[in-house]
Symmetry: C2
Subunit: 313 residues, 2 copies
Amino acid sequence: MEDILYYAGADVGGTSVKLGLYEKGPDSEKLAEKWEIPTDISDDGSHILNDIAVSLKKVCADKNINCQSIAGVGIGVPGPVDFDGVVHECVNLGWKSVDVCREFRNISGIPLITVGNDANVSALGEMWKGGGQGFSNLIMITLGTGVGGGVIIDGKIHAGSVGAAGEIGHMTVNPDETEFCNCKSRGCLEQYASATGIVRIAKNIMNVPDSEELDAKIVIDRAKAGDKAADKAVDKAMEYLGMALSNVACVTDPEVFVIGGGVSAAGEFLIKKIEKYYNMYSMNTLKNKKFRIAMLGNDAGFYGCIKMVMDNA
Amino acid sequence: MEDILYYAGADVGGTSVKLGLYEKGPDSEKLAEKWEIPTDISDDGSHILNDIAVSLKKVCADKNINCQSIAGVGIGVPGPVDFDGVVHECVNLGWKSVDVCREFRNISGIPLITVGNDANVSALGEMWKGGGQGFSNLIMITLGTGVGGGVIIDGKIHAGSVGAAGEIGHMTVNPDETEFCNCKSRGCLEQYASATGIVRIAKNIMNVPDSEELDAKIVIDRAKAGDKAADKAVDKAMEYLGMALSNVACVTDPEVFVIGGGVSAAGEFLIKKIEKYYNMYSMNTLKNKKFRIAMLGNDAGFYGCIKMVMDNA
């Protein structure tokens, strides 16, 4: 038992914290446990880190794991992170400036704490145990309410100089757009290729009464079933995405793109469209990149947190 | 004299090879010599590497430098390079598949040879001794006949999985373009922000008789002198560039952009326009990046070659 070490990952979201505990022995390693706890954003989110530490200790106690054998904890947060593990603002958690590294080290007594942005740790998680296995240079794109992204270079998170690398959702794909994006710019990829964006395009193309509820899944399901207007809407969204990823490839030339988030449940139907437009907009050298669907769903974050802290150990 | 080592850089272009010899002593280091030789592209460019080796030995002899003290040579080539220093095609040199590392090692007897793409080594050179000094995450953009680019991450060249990282000139900035780019795609940045592109835009905007010779310098000089049509042309080119660089920032979030190539001689006049449009298209977190003019001109390549091989020593 002496040689077994544990690494924990905590992916902190606005609603819940997803946690994982990873067991690393001399000959084998595996996920020992995964669970989640609610995120308490009261009092400016000041209970969050303590709640994580308490929950981690409880799970260890339940499994007869000595807390001393936890060698490190990786923490993912929904906002940009400084190189020294300080978060300057996390709107979803109620945080202003929080020194996550130092605070969690003090609370937990665990010496090795590594902090990363949630989109970045998800990308790392998918590289390690998900759709990006076998690759070390990848771009992950998360198509959810917004469009997020993570950049992995040589097997490590590339966070960027102000923590904004991978903000692929805010690449300008349509300078003629008149509506504003959440970021206050106009024509961002997120305005088209997110779940919200697909519905927005669909409402302009499909003949849908205002009273009818429409979500991205309905639009995509109708497109799959042969509804021409719905297909045109999904196609338009994926054309913007394919063009944006072609532009991403001109910058970092990754081995593979991993597509995650709720919208990615549409699987191959979506991948085919993305590939078609990606190749249409790409120069020869960059054509025919690999596209994979993400495999870990909401677990990608804590897996990435575990990998991130293990790499630092 | 025993402790002094030398590193050479050779930036191989279609017309000439620019060379530099760098002296590294225990307490000081400096460029010992720079020179150039013509590129002999006859016989499928099969004399090029030998010519470089001969010239390097001659310069060493002239300067009483023992060839044994050349610790390494960096070579820049105008095409994509494999991780093991193999070039698969260099149209400008007449090369098909050439194992530059192995061949130059055999010819010269120098054990350490490192090969890189010319745009990438120029970026590294500007980081080391030029406009990017003090930074380790930068994007260099070369505005010449075409638009080239190099990506430096954590002080090293990021070449990409097929050597096409930094192909910023082939980002799609105008999907509605009807004319074709050299890469056979349409709407590439290169069609607008290169010297050729600026002239193309100018001819559509300015009232210029077909007989009149127009080049990018003339257009920019007229714009500087207050010619409104010329200014509109330069502005349009820089709007495409600013938007493209804003999209680049969403991917790698660099510390600084370094603008080089013949067009960059226009200096601050150009930078002001690029910054204006860059900020217009960027999300808040990414606004107000640093923009610098390249400082090394045609020497950037061999400087980068020297740095590249020294980093490998």
